[in-house]
């Protein structure tokens, strides 16, 4: 077995001791071992899903060298990546997927960056978004130099009253993590978060709620709601201390608080005592939004507001966000759907690999610009800045 491993390592041109444990190896070497494993199984087709995500430049080169030599031996490689430079560097043909569907395939030497972006963006932004222009007021949220090592770094932005700020970028770019840090669910290493000029205690959702923040998280079943609890308890969950009188809370007070919110958002349920678990995704999302609107927030952070919900509810949520902004609420909306970002946001911040790579006004923002900024690598951004 060891001899076999040595044979494969030599073939791959890597210098590793087959006897040592894989733990403690660099990520690149671990990737190489994964590949060696695939070769030992005599795989003819190798699928690599974002293999370079955790690698440095030199390590990427090593990985690519191995990949090329495998190709030259006649094995097929499917290389999944967001990074254009790597795709153009390594691949012979490029296939674009969007929203889980096949868009097109083209030989690498017959296409350009811009053509790919157009394919990735695809549909024209013709869907109707009910964005009504709102009067933009004073600054509500100020985030300065927010950094969490290895997740995101030096993130600064503001959100003003009546403004919808879209946080765009690819999945895994660090958008949700930024939102969680701002809201205090996750800790951060450096930077400040201020609401109405006053700094908000870090790593404390309670402090964030008291400062007027609300976060409708990405995963409503795991984070947004306690689905085993009733609609009334869920809607009342973030305002319990306000519902309590002399420290005591009653089911009646929860029902009184929950009823109007369920009605405003047209939650479909036979009674407030129904568990959220049995509801449709759209209905659950309405309950999650109701829970946070009940806190009377000044800033609503909403992560993937329409993921996994039906078209009807989707447009209801868009209408709702627009209404809320119209009434002076500051809204930070994270979305992976470009049309949603472009249709709803007054301003778009594009996050790439944990940093803000572009800030675009509603007029400036086009699908192409957002997608370019989202796929940018920092080296490239920095070079541009220098040049």
């Amino acid at each position: 077995m060891i001899a076999e491993a040595e044979r494969i390592f030599t073939r791959l041109g890597v210098d590793l001791d087959p006897r040592r444990p894989a733990q403690g190896l660099s990520i690149a070497d671990q990737q190489i071992i994964e590949i060696a494993k695939a070769i030992s199984l005599d795989a003819h087709l190798l699928i690599m899903d974002e293999p370079t995500a955790a690698l440095s430049g030199v390590e990427v080169e090593r990985l690519f060298a191995v990949a090329r030599s495998l190709r030259d031996e006649g094995r097929g490689i499917v290389f999944i990546s967001h990074r254009f430079d790597e795709i153009f560097d390594l691949c012979d043909t490029i296939t674009v997927m969007r929203d889980g569907a096949y868009v097109g395939t083209t030989p690498t030497d017959q296409t350009t960056n811009d053509e790919l972006v157009t394919m990735m963006v695809g549909r024209e932004v013709t869907e109707l978004y009910p964005k009504i222009p709102a009067e933009i007021g004073e600054t509500v949220l100020e985030v300065e130099g927010l950094t969490a090592a290895g997740v995101f770094s030096d993130v600064s932005f503001t959100v003003r009253a009546g403004e919808i700020v879209g946080l765009a970028g690819l999945v895994g770019a660090g958008r949700s993590e930024i939102a969680r840090a701002v809201f205090g669910v996750d800790p951060y290493d450096a930077g400040t978060v201020r609401m109405h000029g006053r700094s908000v205690g870090k790593h404390s959702p309670t402090a964030a709620i008291n400062a007027g923040m609300a976060l409708v998280p990405e995963d409503r079943r795991q984070q947004g709601l306690v689905v085993e609890s009733s609609v009334a308890r869920n809607i009342g969950a973030a305002i319990r201390s306000r519902l309590a009188r002399l420290g005591l809370i009653s089911a009646a007070s929860e029902n009184r608080a929950a009823g109007p919110w369920a009605s405003r958002l047209q939650v479909k349920t036979s009674a407030l005592s129904m568990n959220a678990a049995t509801m449709s995704g759209g209905n659950q999302q309405k309950v999650a939004i109701a829970k946070w609107l009940a806190t009377d927030p000044k800033l609503l952070i909403i992560d993937e507001p329409t993921r996994g919900i039906d078209v009807g509810t989707k447009s209801e949520v868009h209408r709702l966000l627009s209404q809320l902004a119209g009434e002076g609420m500051a809204i930070l909306m994270i979305s992976s759907e470009l049309p949603e970002v472009l249709g709803m946001a007054d301003r778009v911040l594009v996050i790439s690999e944990g940093r803000i790579s572009a800030e675009l006004s509603r007029e400036e923002a086009t699908a192409e610009k957002v997608m370019h900024a989202a796929t940018a690598r920092h080296e490239a951004i920095r070079e541009e800045a220098v040049a």
């Binding site: 669910v185 959702p205 309670t206 964030a208 976060l215 998280p217 795991q222 984070q223 947004g224 306690v226 689905v227 085993e228 609890s229 009334a232 969950a237 973030a238 319990r240 201390s241 306000r242 519902l243 309590a244 002399l246 420290g247 005591l248 809370i249 009653s250 007070s253 029902n255 009184r256 608080a257 929950a258 009823g259 919110w261 369920a262 009605s263 405003r264 958002l265 047209q266 349920t269 036979s270 009674a271 407030l272 005592s273 129904m274 049995t278 829970k291 609107l293 009940a294 806190t295 009377d296 927030p297 000044k298 209801e316 209408r319 709702l320 209404q323 809320l324 009434e327 002076g328 609420m329």
Partner: protein, 352 residues
Amino acid sequence: MTTTTPAPAAAESVQLGERRRRYANYHRPWWFRAFITTEFLIIALLALVWLWATVSVENFSGPLTVRYLLLDIAPLMMIALPMTLVIITGQIDLSVASIMGLSSVLVGIFHVEWGLSIPVAGALAILVGVLCGGLNGFLVAYVKLPSLAVTIGTMALFRGIAVGLLGTTALTDFDPEWTSLATSSLGESRVPAVVVPVVVLIAVFAVLLHFTPFGRGLYDIGHNEEAARFSGVNVARSQMTTFILSGAVSALAGIFYTLRFGNSRGDNATGLELEVIAAVLLGGVLIFGGRGALHGVIAGVLLIGVISSALRLEGVTVNVINIIIGVLLIASVMAPQIVSGLQRWRPGKEKR
């Protein structure tokens, strides 16, 4: 904290759709919510067993039986209350009986050897109980260790300290005024006076669990810790609190136990933690956390007390009683599934 119902200001006029809807508060009629529950099943079982014992067990209905029954289950009842809170958050505290033993030893040393009065000695013992619970809570809530492992460890640790302090000796020279108070009765009746503090404790814990934001948070933590955190529930502090309550009440139960038998020993109350947990689970509290109610737990404790007492009068040995309670416990862990099946059953509608 304000006393007014929050008036949503910014989002006041938000309204999707034309019609305003009024929702029913409950989707089940009151009798369904009251009777088709795990708790009611246990209460009904308790009533049946009581009836059977009264009719067919000689001497069960006599006043002395009730008196000893209540004296016997008092520590069980006390500790079952904070244990319910702990289990509802999805944790467990196996160290309660060891804290009782430690508290028994300490109150003996403070009172008999150092000459402190019972209230002072008792207060110090409860303080130690708080510290013991605090240690459990710290390791579970802040160091994030599994409570099963932590409290198995502290179960041995606290018991070890208790036995180490007194060795095999027992302190028995307690102030007779206090030992007789521990077994005294209410007025002319045969109901022991300890029922009063136990009822007060029940009331406090019932309010804490069912009518405070803290209690609501415990259920959230048991169901889904992450969602609780996102809602602003202070998960670590809540867990810490439940373990401290558990330590304090266990110490209190240890003091009662010591005074009742006039006897301070390191091995007092050994094994009681299993009886407490059995009673809590029998009362319909879900071992995985998130569901349970205090009236069910009270019925669970009484059920264990009545069965033990009735069978003992029948001359059944302790081993057989333990077998019966074990079988009941397993049945009770299965009961929620049967009840939830019943609750989901809708006449005339197809099953989901």
